[in-house]
Structures are given as structure tokens and as C-alpha cells.
Symmetry: C2
């Protein structure tokens, strides 16, 4: 069944949900036509080209190439780490390295985790198999450029044969970067950093094996080829994203998230929420330009696609259901297990589709922190706006802004949060999702900052926050329509979202 253009907003949203459930928006055209019937671009391409040549991919493509400049993307690629899930699987990693014929690894973690059970179990697993290890525990939570440079230096000196990262996204991302630059001994950090900030050089050879063991239920970094850090002199976050960076294996062990403080559960869970919502509402892969001239240039963040949709929606449903439970009740193991799995599923979703405005705006919000010390993060030892908090804080304004680009998807998301969309109007889709998010953040979950003013920012900071967000163009462009904005309109739009986000 195609997604039908039904009469009411509710029918259309339900149609979309059904379509994604009954086939993961399987017709590529579905994600390319905002809920229009599936008999869209791909079938049209088939029909457009006569069938003797049509059966000849090359010519069909060249035909398209001639007719359409700049060319839109016509394909998507799904890549994810192998995932092993189970309570206690951390104890298997020694055997995994031994099976790979590796007798010495670099163990990346942070000072807070050094004496906690996830690292203890990992070390026991290595020792039980006689695997030697060098520990790098200087990872900074929310890594900075000088921090990753230090890790790179360490890796180039120690020359590990493989990597084991035990920690949250900061630890796993730092290990990915160390692994990359150990394998490119001459490269400078900025060579691989995403353009326009860096040179965006593609990774053209396999890296050393990395096994990632998440200790938070948030980043999904164990499944992705993405690594994020602060570029201090630019007052902004940036990163390196290429599927060659993804871990060989993600060890998803519910025993490792038991020690998360409630506030860390909330913040990392909000990261999952935004990974799901941003990838679900991202520009469809086949609307993105340019079409890469070589598959190695096809970005990991390629827009919503029929497979990422499955993961993003599942993760969104799980987060809406389990995050409040996991946050409120430390004994609710079922909710914790489900949030850990949701984080991994969302990682596969956004890792292959991308995130957009919430993440693009979160980078300056975190890195321009004027002194906010988030409760539950005192042990970090410095003022911090946790990533998940900085991402979610603008979400009510962001999805109100993007609503018009794909009302069906925004209503479908609102319904997952329990909104009644029976008589919803298409033009209200953004507002409806925005209200559903406010109820989720401030009532169902609770204790969340009602705007960036509660994080210490005022109207006078907006221009500087916009300055920090504009370099995230690569990410911002994954929001529908934004890729067509000139700098003026982009700055204006971001400023508008931030103004609305001062106080909800």
C-alpha cells in the first residue's frame, strides 16, 4: 500500500505511520515526497527511461545526469557496527580480541569510570585471555580539540593494535579519532574534520579494530562512524564522520548502565530522543545534493531513508515510553534495558540519516556555557551543560519551525508522545509536536530547563550562539529546506529559534 493522501491530518499521519510500519517507507519515493503516494520518483525514473536502456543502470543514470544539475542523490547506504546485546557480554571481549589474534590493546576510558564495574569487568575480560593493555584515561567529557590532539599523540606513540573504549560518547568518540590518526600518521586533525571547518578528507582504508562498550544510554556512538569534539578557537563543536570510523563491535551490556545517576539517564535519554526525532524529520536522502561522484564521498549523514526510518521510529517510541520510567525509578531495570537498546537503535537511525537543528544549535550552547553546572554532573569537575540537555532545550522551537516541511511526519511523532491529532490541521503540525515535546520534557519527564535562559543565556547571547551554529552548516542542511537558505536567512532562522527558546 502506498502512503495515501487521506482527507484529515489524522488519517494522513496514521497513513504514514501505517506505511512505515507496514513497509519501512520502503518505496524510496515515500521519503522523497513528504507523504505523497509512493508512485513517485523511482517508478517515474523507470517509466521515464525506455526499458531496453532502463535495464541498463549506467545509461539510466547518465540520462538523469544530463537532465538535472546539480544532481540529487539517488541512493543511500546503511552501515552499522555489529551489535552484541546481553547482561554480562562485557566479559566476552577478551575472547573477541584473542579471536582476532590481537594480544595488546589500548583501553580508552575516563577518570570517573576507572574504578567502576564496567572498566573492572573489561579489564578482567582482557586479563583472563592474557591480552595486554595500555590505559588512556585522560578523556575529557565533551571532548575539546586539545584533548583529542593529546589522545592522537598518545596513540601515535603507543601504536596499539586495537582499541577498546569503555565509557560514554566522549570516550568512544575520542578512541575513534585516536584510531583514525594512528592509521594516518602524517595527517593533521583538520584534514578529516567535516567541511567547511575542516577539509573533510574521506577515510580510504580500514582502521584498527575498535570494540565500543557504552556505559550510558545515549550517544549510540557504539554503532556510528561519528566522532564529535569542541573546536575551542572556533567556539563551536565539530566532528569527523565517516562510516569507516565505526566500531567493529558494539557491546551493549545492560549491566554497564546500572550505575548511571538519574540526571545522566535523563540527559543521555534526551540525546536519544533528538537522534530519533531529527533523523525521522531530516531531509529525504533523495532530495539531498550533490550526488557523490564516488561512493566513498557519500556521507554517513545522508538524510532520512527507508531503513533509518525503522530504527528512528522504534527508538522514538521506546524513549517516549521508557525514559520517564528510567529517570524516576532506579529499580526499573526493564526501562533501563529498553533505553539502552533504544540508544543503540537510534544510533543506527541517525548514524545513517543524520541529525539537524537541535544538534547544530547544541554545539554553541554547550561550548559557550557561561558557567552553568548541571545537577548530577558535579563529578566532571567543571561547569557543564550536558549534551542531551543542550540538544533538547531548543526542540520545542525547532520542530515548530520544521513542521511545515513535513506535517505528516511531525503529527506522527506527536502521536507517539500521546498527542490527540484527531482534528489536527496540517498547518498546526509543528505546533502540535512542539506542545507534545513541552509536556514530555516539563511534565512526563520533568526537571528539564524550560529554555536556554535557565542555562544562563540571555537575548544578548543569541548572536554569538548563531555565530557558533553557522559553521554547522553540514548538519543544519539536513533540516528540510534549510539547504536552500543563504547565510542571511539561515542566521535569521537560527536567531528566531533561539529567541523562542529563551523561555518556554
Amino acid at each position: 500500500m502506498s502512503v495515501r493522501l487521506a482527507q484529515t491530518a489524522r488519517q494522513r499521519a496514521m497513513g504514514l505511520l501505517r506505511a512505515v510500519q507496514s513497509h519501512p517507507s520502503a518505496c524510496p519515493c515515500h521519503v522523497c515526497t513528504s507523504g505523497a503516494t509512493s508512485a513517485g520518483s523511482l517508478s517515474t525514473l523507470f517509466k521515464a527511461v525506455d526499458h531496453t536502456t532502463n535495464r541498463h543502470g549506467g545509461r539510466a543514470m547518465s540520462a538523469a545526469r544530463a537532465s538535472d544539475i546539480p544532481q540529487k542523490e539517488y541512493a543511500f547506504e546503511m552501515a552499522a557496527s555489529n551489535i552484541r546485546y546481553g547482561p554480562g557480554v562485557t566479559q566476552e571481549i577478551g575472547m573477541d580480541f584473542k579471536n582476532l589474534g590481537i594480544d595488546r590493546v589500548a583501553l580508552f576510558t575516563d577518570k570517573n569510570l576507572l574504578n567502576l564495574s564496567p572498566v573492572r569487568v573489561a579489564v578482567e575480560a582482557l586479563e583472563s585471555q592474557g591480552i595486554k593493555y595500555d590505559i588512556y584515561s585522560d578523556v575529557i567529557v565533551e571532548p575539546k580539540d586539545y584533548g583529542v590532539r593529546d589522545a592522537i599523540e598518545w596513540a601515535r606513540r603507543v601504536q596499539p593494535k586495537a582499541y577498546l573504549a569503555v565509557g560514554g560518547g566522549s570516550v568512544i568518540d575520542t578512541a575513534k579519532i585516536a584510531n583514525l590518526f594512528q592509521n594516518y600518521p602524517e595527517a593533521d586533525l583538520m584534514d578529516f574534520v567535516n567541511a567547511p571547518l575542516g577539509k573533510g578528507r574521506p577515510v580510504d582504508k580500514p582502521l584498527s579494530p575498535l570494540i565500543a562498550v557504552p556505559t550510558t544510554a545515549g550517544t549510540g556512538s557504539e554503532t556510528t562512524g561519528t566522532a564529535i569534539f569542541d573546536l575551542v578557537e572556533k567556539k563551536s563543536k565539530t566532528g569527523i564522520a565517516h562510516r569507516a570510523l565505526k566500531p567493529l563491535l558494539g557491546i551493549v551490556d545492560p549491566l554497564n548502565t546500572l550505575s548511571m545517576p538519574a540526571q545522566v539517564k535523563a540527559s543521555s535519554g534526551l540525546d536519544v530522543l533528538c537522534h530519533s526525532l531529527e533523523s525521522w524529520t531530516a531531509i529525504p536522502y533523495c532530495e539531498r545534493t550533490p550526488r557523490p561522484t564516488n561512493p566513498i564521498l557519500r556521507p554517513a549523514y545522508q538524510g532520512a531513508n527507508p531503513i533509518s526510518d525503522i530504527f528512528s521510529l522504534q527508538a522514538l517510541r521506546m524513549t517516549a515510553t521508557y525514559l520517564p520510567r528510567a529517570y524516576r525509578d532506579p529499580e526499573d531495570y526493564e526501562a533501563q534495558e529498553n533505553m539502552l537498546l533504544a540508544a543503540t537503535l537510534a544510533g543506527v537511525g541517525f548514524g545513517n540519516a543524520g541529525v539537524h537543528l537541535c544538534h547544530g544549535l547544541s554545539y554553541p550552547i554547550s561550548s559557550q556555557n557561561k558557567g552553568h553546572q548541571h545537577p548530577g554532573y558535579e563529578s566532571v569537575g567543571h561547569p557543564i551543560i550536558p549534551h542531551g540537555v543542550s540538544v533538547a532545550v531548543t526542540s520545542p522551537a525547532v520542530f515548530k519551525f520544521t513542521g511545515a516541511s513535513n506535517p505528516e511526519r511531525h503529527l506522527a511523532a506527536a502521536q507517539i508522545f500521546g498527542a490527540d491529532i484527531t482534528n489536527a490541521k496540517m498547518e498546526s503540525a509543528g505546533e502540535i509536536l512542539s506542545d507534545a515535546l513541552k509536556e514530555f520534557l516539563y511534565v512526563k519527564l520533568g526537571d528539564q530547563p524550560r529554555g536556554i535562559s535557565e542555562l544562563g543565556f540571555g537575548a544578548g547571547d543569541i548572536e554569538s550562539l548563531v555565530d557558533g551554529a553557522v559553521p554547522q552548516r553540514r548538519v543544519l542542511n539536513l533540516a528540510p529546506d534549510v539547504h536552500s537558505y543563504d547565510d542571511g536567512r539561515l542566521r535569521e532562522s537560527l536567531a528566531g529559534i533561539l529567541e523562542e527558546s529563551l523561555k518556554f
Copy 2:
């Protein structure tokens, strides 16, 4: 929300569907307790262990280990090839090999495909990048042991640096096997063949890169680590299954399936149907024994798990919707695109969960063919019962047999085929799904054999078919309960299913 034990069968089945949709049976316990509340084994494990040691995975596991012998599995691993989807992506493979630094590949295909566009496009893609290639086109449809031995000999002689497989499952599977044995020059075919027929040796090193380009929408072999062939002297099919065999990249290009004859669409689509249904109804991963002593021994076919469930259900829904359309209307490109994607999704599902009785019984049905020449397969040049046909022909009897093991899942599947389960009784779940399958096979799709008698088998052949199925114990054991059967009860059960399958 947990899966609730609701009052009526319908409510329970809907609850299960909602649970899988709202979270992919995310609590591992859900798939371990047949629809019971999620507060199952895993949470129990947490609670069972005091929290200081609980945070210590190793001890938690040892505790479990002492208390429970033989130990059930406690983990699952998801692995899938990278998937690239798009009309015309076949033209990119030359660049892919060049990006890998490979200048010469082995191109595996079969004689029928040699002059068709998928191979032409693939060859052009190689030549455009100056990649040299040696063609092996002696692949037999439904490969035999002597055929794969020939391919192994060829590969050991030619020593390709990488493999390109363009074809259906037979071609892709043969390439996987050639790649494996080229990399284990001393090994005998039976060393890696699944036990008990073979020695089931694990693959303990990476193989050469394989890019798989499916030309049918069926096997999903482009995503799996499975390779199947006939063991002629044993009158049965067997195979090699290890995630290390999976292709590096699956090229899912709708332009490559345009030339499928209607009967090939039907048969390969029926394979997708059974991959989905069998993996969805397979034993839950955490009910399977034994727990592997080393992760490398964890089989690819590990039982239903929260992630395979997502893929299997999506593929089932897509197949129920699109297969009849793709079969009846050669111009229905939307249906073809969706069936190709469904085949890939089902491949990820069964590739990590497994198949059971339909596939276990299909092997002797295909290999003991007494002369049936399936319409549309004349070009094969010998009598053939296509894999999909031999798999689906027993399905109405198989799912009637398995219904009692998990009524909710059988009713949920029946509802996907359009069955009204409003007043369904739990004890009728198998019958209801069986009837829904008959209506799908004989009415909605149509032209399918109504039992094995239409394939040339009589009551007198049942014992020999059972003889051929029993060695498939590894696969048969993935059917709930069957792992507990002794040989007598197993033979009796298989005979019963085959007798019922003589004529529907």
C-alpha cells in the same frame, strides 16, 4: 509498556504487535516469555544479584552459570553487510573496489545472467575503473557439492584478491564458499559445513572482500553469512553459516530485478515470506542452549531477538502487500522495489535469528525432486523445484504445528495477512495462520502448488523426505520445542507435517 496478558486473543496479539512496533520487543524477556510481561528474566537476573556484585557483570554471570546447567543463551549478536540501495548503484562497484585498492576481482555469476544487463553494468563498472576480472560462470542454480568444490578449486587456482557476485542466492552463496576456502587453502569442504553433517569449524579470520549484487528479490544472501548447497550423497541440503562469510557490501539495485520472470518473482518472494515468518516464530534467543563458551561459537542462527523481530515483521508486512502485485503486474515497479527491499530486510532478520521447519523440510523436497520442472524455470535446463516453492509448500502445515508454541505471534502474523482475529481462540492460532497462508498462496498470489503431491511426491516418499530433513537438526531446532524432541518424536512430527502437506 510491557506486552500485557490481555483478555482476548485479539487483544493479546494486538498487544504483541504494539509491543514490537512501540519497542522492538525491546525487553529481551519479551521474546523469552511468549507474550508475558516484560518484567521477565533479565530484570529478574538484576534483582537476583545484590547490587554491588550486580554491577559486576562477571559475577552476575558466574552466579547464573552455577545455578543453571545446561545454560541458556543470554546474549544475541546482530551483524549485517553494509547495504547500498538505489536504482543504478551497480555502476558504483568499480569505484568501490578501486577505493579498496583492489585491481583484480573474481566475478561470479551464472550462464543465464552472463549476457543480461546486471552483469553488463557490473562489467562496465569494473572496466571504467581499470579493474581486471576473471569470470566464473559455472554456478549451478541450487548449488550441488560437486559444483561448490569446482568453484573452490577455481578460486584456489586463480587466487582472486576480492569477489564480486552478480546473481541470485546460488551465485552469492557459491562466491561466499569459494572465498572461504581460498582463505583456508588446506581445509576440506566438510570442515566448515554445519554440524552434524560437517564439522562446523568456526571462521576465525577475515576473508577477502565480497560485493554481492542480487538479481532476484528473495534470498537476502547479500546481507547474510549463510551459504547453502546440496550434499548429494546425503540426499539433502546443508550449508555453511558464520557471520564472517557475510559480504562487505550488498548492492541492492532495483534495476537488476526488472528482468525477473513472473514465476521467479513468485518463488523468490515466497522465500522472503518464509524467512520472515520462520524467524518471527523461531525460538527466542535466550531459550536456546547451549550458551557458547566463546563468542565466535555464537551461531548466526541464534533465535528470535528484539532486533531481528523488527526486520522480520517489516519484511512480512511488505511481502503480504507487494508480492501479489509484483507477481501479477510486470509494470508495477513500486511493488518490485518494495519486494527487493523486503528481501534484504528479511535477510537481516533471518540471518540473525534463523529459519526452521519450512526451510528444514525444503531441502529434501528440492533435492529429492523426482522430475518436477517448475514453470518459468525451463532455462535452468534440468528439472527443478525452486527453493521458494519448496519452502512455502509446507508452510500451512508447519505454522499449524508451531501455533501452540506462541499463539500471540501466530495471530499477529495471521492479522498481517488480513485474517480477522477478533474472536480468535489461543488454541486456534496455528489453524488461523494456516488458513491465512492458504488464502495468500492459492488466492491472493495464486498459481502455487497445493501441496507436495503437485510436486510429484506421494505418501510413499515421506519416509525418505524425513530421512533428508533429520540431518537439518541445527535448523529444525530453531522451531520452538523441537530442540527437546528425541529422534523418534522428531521423525514423527516431520512425517505428520509432510502427510498433511500432501494435498491442501
